[in-house]
Symmetry: C2
Subunit: 297 residues, 2 copies
């Protein structure tokens, strides 16, 4: 395994180990929703957002341990968004990562509540750090504010609204960019930014991290669109060509696969430029950008 | 109008005036969800939770203005919970405050997203106060932590889970108490607590506020149950006898109306005792507890 692969794996394992402890446990009256939350949160996923948070915190002089509650909170929020996106009234997806999606497994009511629960738990995980006394309160407030802004109507939720409203309708390249920068880009940017905030990084470093994450976020989404056309259900753990069947305009349908691949390459170059010559100039981030663009699942 | 009535009205109007400014505005791609959020947030309601937050802040030596973003955040979270509770997969209520509920007006997808949006906006409203520099960061972190804990699976969401799982099944008096203390009690307690936190009140005062709010919270819920049996659709703005039709056990079905009224009286007395002889010993809180128990809508 490469140095990069080893480091990513280390981060990934640390997140997988840490996540369960943040979930509510016990034989409570509400244990069914806790099970549904665990099912979706611990059911796989690449943990890219959490890894970004940990890596940026370390590169800015903080520790992996300090960033962990924030990284896990981001994964909770990501899991919530997938549960609600899969609901019958939204994308109506029965499969997620090769398993029944949350509402298929637990029913619609518990899926709505599990999503609500994970969103709330994300904020609770960050804000309850106040009681540990381990963080300056301004770090907690600022990191929480970054997360909230990224996933509200000007961010993730707004992107999902655009997505369902454009279902089966044409969308311009400009609007498609706005949609993705809100739906997936905002949380990816917040992941990198929050890592920096936890480490107490100055604003110019946060701005570089933001630019890097912005570019790899779009590259990541375009690669998703390409894979929907070029991959197999077995590799992706979800049906392929689902975008085309839903009548969705994607980068792949808009530009074709080859041009989309070129755009991804340009975005990776932009990401690289944004960290060059700074404290963030580290092989791990260069390789991470490459890998996200070249992945096959 | 009594002194009490005048003061409540002042608080109420201040909240109604402040709320719209916290909502996202503008001709954005996501304006439909913003409209749905405004529809539910600004569509009436007694604002009791917000009033509690403002009143407790003032009684602890803070200002109404300082408590306002926190009070408005609580109303957003309350509105989110009503939108999701009304969904077809939950209580399936078509009417809310005499108007079509959010999913009837905007469709199910937008209703889910409007709820998600209001929950997120609640946290953003609190956490973005960090950027104003008007609050010590520890106040922001602590108040946010209080809110998150109150509305998670150990609080509001857990109560809703118990509620839907007991639909059409008998429930013991003990479990009914747990259900209500989670589903409605936790947020009411957090409202009072957060008002104290904003004012920088010491822990013993927060504990008194908590006890007061705990008692009026249960009294409020029992009164709701009584009204479902004794009031009219016109007064309530929603169908009466809905609990009985859904096969729900309530305080009214469990104890009967008369015994339920006695329990409410005892709870108001308990609430009064918890503030007696403290900085919170104020006519407004005594009258508020009375009024909540004697209301007819």
């Amino acid at each position: 395994m490469s140095d990069y692969g080893q480091k990513f794996d280390e981060y990934y394992r640390a997140v997988e180990e840490a996540l369960p402890a943040f979930l509510p446990q016990g034989d409570t009256p509400q244990k069914t929703v806790q099970e549904a939350m665990a099912y979706s949160l611990l059911g796989g996923g690449k943990r890219i957002r959490a890894v970004l948070c940990l890596a940026f915190c370390e590169l800015c002089g903080g520790t992996r341990e300090a960033a962990m509650p924030f990284a896990c909170a981001i994964e909770m929020v990501h899991a919530y968004s997938l549960i609600h996106d899969d609901l019958p009234c939204m994308d109506d997806d029965d499969l997620r990562r090769g398993k029944p999606s949350c509402h298929i497994q637990y029913g619609e009511a518990l899926a709505v509540l599990a999503g609500d629960g994970l969103l709330t738990l994300g904020f609770e995980t960050i804000l309850s750090q106040y009681y540990t006394g381990k963080y300056p309160p301004q770090v907690i407030a600022r990191a929480g504010a970054e997360l909230a802004a990224a996933i509200g109507t000007a961010g993730m939720i707004g992107g999902q609204v655009m997505d369902i409203e454009h279902e089966g309708k044409p969308i311009s390249a400009g609007d498609l960019n706005i949609l993705h920068s809100m739906k997936t880009g905002a949380l990816i940017r917040a992941s990198a930014r929050m890592g920096c905030v936890v480490a107490g990084a100055p604003d110019d470093v946060i701005a570089r991290a933001d630019k890097y994450a912005k570019n790899i976020g779009i590259a990541f989404q375009i690669t998703d669109d390409i894979l929907d056309v070029t991959s197999t259900e077995e590799k992706l753990g979800k049906p392929v060509e689902s975008d085309r069947q839903m009548g969705k305009t994607t980068y792949a349908t808009l530009y074709g696969v080859e041009k989309s691949r070129q755009i991804v390459k340009d975005l990776v170059l932009e990401a690289d430029l944004s960290i060059k010559g700074s404290v963030l100039d580290d092989p791990f981030l260069y390789r991470l950008a490459d890998q996200l663009a070249q992945r096959d699942c």
